[in-house]
């Protein structure tokens, strides 16, 4: 399958990992990059801090307003246990759910998966999140120790040492955290995609455009994909610009009253039809510089 399929963006190829399902199809997982991971983590951290501040204020208010005996104690117990659960089980709880992702990861379109393709187990999720203790909290405690007056060299040494764990994902190909390493997991892109409209169908409603073989043969797959993006984004200025360039390239003489959108729809359908027919016979044309199909 890999030799006949062109992945969407050449920039992505080094992050694609093979996952062959038992049915024998390679799903070609895309690993999350460091920026996406950091973004998801920052969202989650903001949620945790926000909930913590909100809950603290709420509990304090309850303890002050409700004047029952033992109310302050009850609120302290709730706060202590709540803080512990939030710190340790926010990530674990969300990753145990069906989506295997925290709110931050969901927003970015990521999920946790087992590196060997098997089911994601609770112990793996615990292991990957318990190691946040040395990846996040240990460096943080060294920074706080600096404020607390521990010697400068001690703090520096501690930061360098714990920084190794925090920056672990930057030093390996699969962007594994120390936690991913210890749990046999990785984080992959699993966005929810919408199925767009069938562009070729839009062309059917229009009056027929008669392109010659040479006119259709002017472009390859790379140009077809750009054209698809243009049509799907539906920006009238870009559509007009692209239509003008294609007309010039294929030396097309416009009929009176011909709309740019209709022209591009028709050309897209004709080009795709031709390239796909070539595909069926095992002939691909990567771009306009490739030999014609």
């Amino acid at each position: 399958m890999t030799d006949t399929y062109v992945p969407p963006s050449p920039l992505d190829t080094h992050r694609i990992r093979e996952l062959v399902t038992p049915e024998g199809v390679d799903l070609q997982l895309r690993l999350a990059d460091a920026g996406e991971r950091a973004g998801a983590f920052l969202i989650d951290a903001a949620v945790i801090v926000g909930v913590l501040i909100g809950a603290t204020i709420a509990l304090a208010l309850i303890a002050v307003v409700v004047r029952a005996p033992f109310m302050p104690q009850a609120m302290v117990v709730v706060w202590l246990l709540g803080f512990f659960l939030l710190r340790n089980f926010y990530f674990i709880g969300f990753e145990l759910s069906g989506r295997a992702a925290t709110p931050g990861k969901r927003m970015i379109g990521l999920r946790v998966a087992s590196r060997n393709g098997g089911p994601l187990t609770a112990d793996a999720i615990f292991a990957r999140n318990a190691l946040r203790e040395i990846e996040v909290y240990l460096p943080m405690s060294f920074i706080l120790a600096n404020a607390g007056g521990l010697g400068g060299w001690m703090v520096t040494a501690g930061l360098v040492w714990s920084g190794v764990f925090a920056l672990f994902p930057l030093f390996n190909r699969d962007r594994l955290r120390a936690g991913d390493l210890a749990a046999g997991t990785w984080v992959v892109r699993a966005p929810k995609r919408r199925l767009g409209i069938e562009l070729a169908r839009r062309a059917e409603a229009e009056a027929p455009f008669a392109f010659t073989v040479a006119q259709i043969g002017a472009y390859g797959e790379a140009e077809l994909q750009v054209l698809e993006d243009v049509l799907r984004s539906n920006n009238s200025r870009v559509v007009a610009d692209v239509a003008m360039r294609i007309r010039r390239k294929i030396e097309w003489t416009s009929a009176p009253g011909e709309r740019d959108g209709a022209f591009l729809d028709a050309y897209y359908a004709a080009l795709r039809g031709r390239l796909e027919t070539g595909m069926l016979f095992g002939r691909r044309r990567r771009d306009k510089h490739d030999r014609p199909v």
Binding site: V25, F84, A100, F126, L138, L195, E276
Partner: protein, 334 residues
Amino acid sequence: MRDTLRSQRFRQAREDQWRTLDRLLDRAERGSVSDLTDAQLLSIPVLYRATLSSLSVARATSLDRNLTAYLEALCTRAYFFVYGPRTTLLERIGGFFVTDWPRTAQRLWRETLISFALMLMGAAIAYVLTLHDPGWYSAFIPANLAGGRTPEATAAALRVVLYSQDNKGWLAPFAAFLFTHNAQISILAFALGFAFCLPTGVLMTTNGCALGAIFALYVSHGLGFQMGGWLLIHGVTELWAVTLSGAAGFRIGWRFAFPGEAQRLTAVAEAGREGAMLMFGVIVMLSIAGLLEGLGRQLITSDWARYAIAGFSAVAWGVYLYAPRPGARREGAQ
């Protein structure tokens, strides 16, 4: 009129299937598997295989990038659902207490012994040093943790700490504090194992040192027996749990440094998951220890009753974690 594209007809024929699968997955992922009917649940794997075959066809015959990307995302979601964990939360929890936890504890017996030995060694060294020269005490116990329990304190003052029943209203917060504090330390001990065992070893030893030093302080004031009861009523459970968390940490670090026959990454991941299994148990033990320390110790002031609870918990944990189970060997061999 232009001819309809082959890939366009292909999409028209199968689109309904994909959308059905998409909708079912949406509902299943929201955690509402229970409100899918049996027929719907059974249709997911069938639809998944059909969609997977659509993906193969699309990759080979269609140049609609939006379509292939959609099918890839849909198949990936469906794959994780179809081949994901099949057990319910209740079954998992049951399985954990009945087999997984004790079996992991048994498998990590070597690491547990090492972890325990380090703690014992720290305790013995601190005990001997402090007994001979009380000046060592402050080296093992930071002043802010000592709370007046210093070598200069009188025996009467030290005795008060052992049997104090003040602040009864704050027992529950105290228990909660002890639990969360100890659980956090034990998770740290586990995580530190990743740095080739050494920091975990240091943590176990210093923990032992603090125990040895404070015990020596009470022994030197003739309160050794009483101190034993005060310490062990919850200490059996708590120290056992801390020992296990150290063992879980050692497992990761050891397999990381010396993977043996296995590939290093595989070995570490296996050790990490084993350790994590044990850590779930550690947290359960520490919550029990927190209750024993925060409530039990403050309410039960008889030395013999304290020793009785300590003895009972030692036997109970020992039997639960290490007693051989019927069928364990056979399942282990599979």
